[in-house]
């Protein structure tokens, strides 16, 4: 679980946060509602999760609410991994 959280957080920071931003992004930082990740960019995050964890997320699951924090993303992925 923690390993997955770290991996997702690392991806989010690498892809969506600029190096010289002072932003402190953690497991519970709002991603969608804060505007760090916009609704179109959510798709690349979804593809990352599907490839890395070999799962398929339906459009009904990949909602802005479910993707709003690293914690909620990991909960969603874990549901698929059983």
């Amino acid at each position: 679980m923690d390993e997955m959280k770290d991996a997702v957080l690392e991806y989010v920071i690498d892809e969506y946060v600029d190096e010289d931003d002072d932003m402190d992004v953690g497991f519970d930082t709002a991603l969608i509602s804060s505007g760090i990740v916009d609704s179109f960019s959510m798709v690349s995050l979804k593809v990352f999760l599907e490839k890395k964890y070999n799962i398929t997320l339906s459009d009904g699951e990949a909602t802005p609410e479910a993707f709003d924090t690293v914690t909620s993303i990991v909960e969603l992925v874990n549901k698929h991994l059983g």
Partner: protein
């Protein structure tokens, strides 16, 4: 009773002069959109009225009066003049929906500059082509976005001023300037530039099938179209609390997110945070919003979240809803009537038209799924696809077209007279933009297809070209393809729109790879993120299909229409020019 009253009655003896009556305009008044939206409202006794209720992420909330609008736009105008900027200079506004975006937009217009707002999610390449095309002299941005400007500054010799309006001043680099208008001394007086009706005002970039985006130039005279459509279609009244969800980087966000409501002295709300269903409903509830102008993509996202979030909020303040950006499907209209007790009224217009052209109106019966009828004063038709003659037969599909001459019509594509001319059916080869826009024997062809039913209602069919409409934003395939082949793995590429339940279309890319590269999940993600950062999240392919070789004509041109037809399950048409294997 709505502002428009009877649509049919309004068609009789229509005159655009009615817009002046709506505004209480007197001969000899100063024509300048920046002035009209701030100083003029104050002078009419509404200085202390709330103009802007702004909310950002994390509970940030600020409220500004029309007097604040006046003073802060004065502040920007004076700052720009003091830097040596002059009337006619293109001044880009590149920031999120923060209050300074709105103040600076009015400030640029007040000093006679041409406001060039750009969507803040654009990557550095999208930004560069638009600044280069416009010959932009100054850019107003924030610390968050100035990094993209730094990457391209060396390639833009005409860009002399980079002004950061928010953030930490100590982080500025080189010759960048810092200007926080709210912290600066208040500028109580500024003499606004006296604009001619044809003085350029706003420059919005829009995408086409071929080539880079084109700058559609608007003028101060556009205000008459924006005022009257705001009054008659959005039905805004003095006591309304209005929310236009569009970003001013796109034309809806300026025509109806700034000019329309503020020229009429209406209070408006801005939410500068990411989309979640609960946050939007909370925003409506907390601010007692009465009129809401949004987009089908957002409406369909709200539909997907169902009725429970609606029940959890008090949305009883809403009295009128409208939609723009892409066709609003009948299901969404019916759903909104069921859950909000109000239907969303669809409106149709474009960057080029500057104001609404075909709409549904309060008090006019709605046919769910229809675009409605032409605005009074707008002569519209659907033209035969080949002859470009108006189609008389109800239900026959043709090209949506308008007789030139409405007030908010774009005056040119910046530095592209041939492309401007190509938008007019039957245009003489040597006609200038001024001759074209005033020749009422011509038709301005919109690039969209529709049919008209026996009752005069228009029904949208689709684009007449390869431009991708995603979430209400037009994205040019050429721009995406040019960026795709800059990826180290891609040899050739084609981009099309593929159907999407929420966004109408999303970008799909077809690529062939260079030797040494193999299709993989990692590569797909790398390509997606490459385009997202270089162009924008809107342009990011949401699906990538690998092909050994892309279909081409015998002359070597990639057959985008063939790929699109396959994707949409349509007839692929004449393939006689297809290259042999």
């Amino acid at each position: 009773m709505s502002n428009i009253g009877s649509y049919e009655e309004r068609l009789k003896d229509f005159d655009w002069g009615i817009a002046k009556e709506v505004l209480g305009w007197e001969d000899g008044e100063l024509l300048n959109i920046g002035h009209i939206c701030s100083d003029r409202v104050c002078a009419r006794g509404q200085a202390d009225k709330v103009a802007l209720i702004w909310e950002g992420f994390g509970g940030k909330k600020r409220t500004y009066t029309f007097d604040d609008l006046r003073v802060y736009s004065n502040g920007f105008a004076k700052f720009l003049v003091d830097r040596g900027l002059k009337p006619g200079d293109r001044i880009c506004i590149f920031m999120d929906k923060i209050p300074s975006l709105y103040f600076s937009f009015l400030g640029v217009l007040k000093m006679g500059g041409i406001a060039q707002p750009l969507f803040s999610a654009f990557g550095d390449e999208s930004l560069e082509v638009r600044l280069e095309s416009a010959g932009t002299a100054a850019i107003l941005t924030t610390r968050k976005h100035v990094k993209k400007v730094r990457k391209i500054l060396d390639k833009l010799p005409e860009l002399k001023h980079v002004i950061v309006v928010e953030g930490d001043e100590s982080k500025l680099k080189g010759e960048e300037m810092f200007f926080d208008v709210e912290a600066a001394p208040r500028v109580e007086e500024f003499e606004s530039y006296v604009a001619d009706p044809e003085t350029p005002s706003v420059l919005h970039y829009t995408s086409g099938t071929t080539g880079q985006p084109k700058g559609a130039q608007h003028v101060h005279n556009s205000i008459w179209g924006q005022v009257l459509t705001t009054s008659w279609v959005l039905d805004l009244r003095e006591d309304d609390i209005y929310w236009c969800t569009a970003d001013p980087g796109w034309v809806t966000g300026t025509s109806y997110g700034i000019i329309g409501p503020w020229s009429l002295g209406v209070t408006q709300c801005v939410l500068d945070s990411g989309f979640t269903c609960a946050r939007w409903y909370e925003f409506i509830q907390d601010n007692r919003i009465t009129v809401w102008y949004s987009a089908p993509t957002a409406i369909r996202s709200l539909m997907r979240d169902g009725v429970e979030p609606v029940k959890a909020h008090d949305l009883s303040s809403l009295r009128h809803l409208a939609s723009v950006g892409e066709p609003l499907n009948a299901e969404a209209v019916i759903w909104s009537e069921e859950v909000y007790g109000l239907p969303f009224l669809d409106t149709f217009w474009q960057t080029e038209t500057g104001a609404m052209m075909i709409s549904n109106y309060p008090d006019m019966p709605i046919k769910p799924g229809s675009m409605g009828k032409p605005f009074p004063g707008i002569e519209a038709a659907v033209l035969d696809l080949k002859t470009h003659e108006p189609i008389q037969e109800p239900g026959t599909v043709g090209l949506i077209a308008f007789r030139p001459g409405w007030p908010a019509m774009f005056r040119e594509y910046r530095n592209k007279p041939d492309i401007y001319r190509s938008k007019f059916a039957g245009a003489p080869e040597d006609a200038t933009p001024d001759e074209l826009r005033t020749n009422t024997d011509l038709w301005y062809v919109s690039g969209d297809r529709a049919s008209i039913d026996a009752d005069g209602y228009y029904w949208f069919v689709g684009r007449d070209d390869d431009v991708i409409n995603t979430g209400g934003h037009l994205v040019g395939p050429f721009e995406i393809e040019s960026a795709l082949v800059e990826h180290e793995a891609i040899a050739e590429a084609a981009a099309i729109g593929k159907p999407d339940e929420v966004n109408m279309e999303v970008v799909k890319a077809f690529v062939s790879l260079k030797p040494g590269f193999e299709p993989s999940g990692d590569l797909e993600l790398s390509i997606m993120n490459f385009i997202r950062k270089k162009l924008s999240p809107l342009a990011m392919p949401q699906e990538i299909e690998y092909m050994e070789k892309l279909p081409k004509t015998r002359s070597g041109k990639i057959l985008r229409r063939y790929l699109r037809a396959l994707e949409w399950g349509e007839d692929v048409g004449d393939l006689s020019t297809l290259e042999d294997d």
